[in-house]
Amino acid sequence: MRYRDIFKNGIIEENPTFVQLLGMCPTLAVTTSVSNSIGMGLSATFVLMCSNFVISLVRKVIPNKIRIAAYIVIIATFVSIIEMLLKAYLPALSQSLGMFVPLIVVNCIILARAESFAAKNSPLPSALDGISMGLGFTGALTIIGAVRELLGNGTILGFSVFGASYNPALIFILPPGAFLVLGTIIAIINIITDKKNTKEAGK
């Protein structure tokens, strides 16, 4: 029962991107294409799952004073591992993501979940929370990436959707476009959530 709630939480109720507004930096920078978004999201999910699991395992041993330092060392280790694995086995994706893989270390989502969940719960639920938040992050990135790639490049996953005659609105693959798309999506989500809440309250 509890596992189902934890899993749903990261994807919908407390979606790290659209609800908690965490990890905005990589969200805005990496979502220029769907493949980059998925690659980044899944890499971050792997790190989230591993770091949440390990931090939960050692949570009783780490003194409160040094917990942030300890968490960052553990998170950085997993990010370095995934960076090496990507370079060795998925070099094309590693090239695409470039410097954003090392930046996963300072992705707020990972530190936030370590602090607010892994530090207070047992390993398996923590790992699940990591997976859930990671998938929520990946889903959010993919949606934003799809809009930006479609409008700013006329393609989805590299496949041309509008044909060669489409003159793409370049702004969508530039930073301002990232803000515009993210803001609009959050606004739409808020409108839907508000409507749902007033309906529930009115019952």
Partner: protein, 186 residues
């Protein structure tokens, strides 16, 4: 006082253990992957040379001290051991850092191909530099290639990537440097 010292030592010791275990994991992963990463990089360069100077069978590295942009020069020889051209490795600075490229140049000093091996340019914009649509524009050009932002390019010009002038100029400067080095060798 004594409690204070004890807790400080305990904190330091725990950090030491965490650091040790993490470093151990990292060095294991590094050992596992470093050979493969190195061979992938070497392969990428070999493939780039073969694709930019297709008439060559073998590449021989020439003695050339890096001048900042051009970092290595390879002589391309065919099956009859004649020199058919050169592959020049250039690393001009683009928008997001160095752009590592291989430029194939034939014996007449004309470009036969450009292959971008690695770069960190903006995805969707500068990153389009390694698409054939852009790199093929350099084929056949001689010394002094210029960048044209809009309109049809002249014989000694290439079309810049829309929205990525810095990247386009960087790649062009790499190509020009390569051509200049080959000219100085002949």
């Amino acid at each position: 006082m004594k409690e204070n010292v004890r807790s400080i030592i305990k904190t330091g010791a725990i950090l030491l253990v965490i650091g040790f275990v993490c470093t151990l994991l990292l060095s294991l992963c590094n050992n596992m992957t470093k050979d493969r990463i190195a061979s992938l990089a070497a392969n990428a360069e070999q493939q780039a040379m073969a694709s930019t100077l297709p008439m060559a069978d073998k590449f021989v590295k020439l003695q050339y001290d890096s001048d900042g942009v051009v970092t290595a020069v390879y002589e391309g020889k065919n099956a009859e051991k004649e020199v058919v051209g050169y592959c020049v490795k250039a690393e001009p600075v683009g928008y997001g850092g160095a752009i590592s490229m291989i430029v194939g140049i034939d014996a007449d000093g004309k470009v036969t191909g450009v292959d971008i091996v690695s770069m960190s340019e903006t995805p969707g914009l500068g990153a389009k530099a390694n698409e054939p649509q852009f790199t093929n524009g350099f084929i056949g050009k001689g010394a002094g290639v210029k960048v044209r932002k809009s309109g049809a390019p002249a014989d000694d010009e290439i079309s810049a990537i829309s929205g990525a002038t810095v990247t386009s100029k960087a790649v062009t400067s790499g190509v020009n440097a390569a051509i200049a080095v080959v000219e100085s060798l002949q």
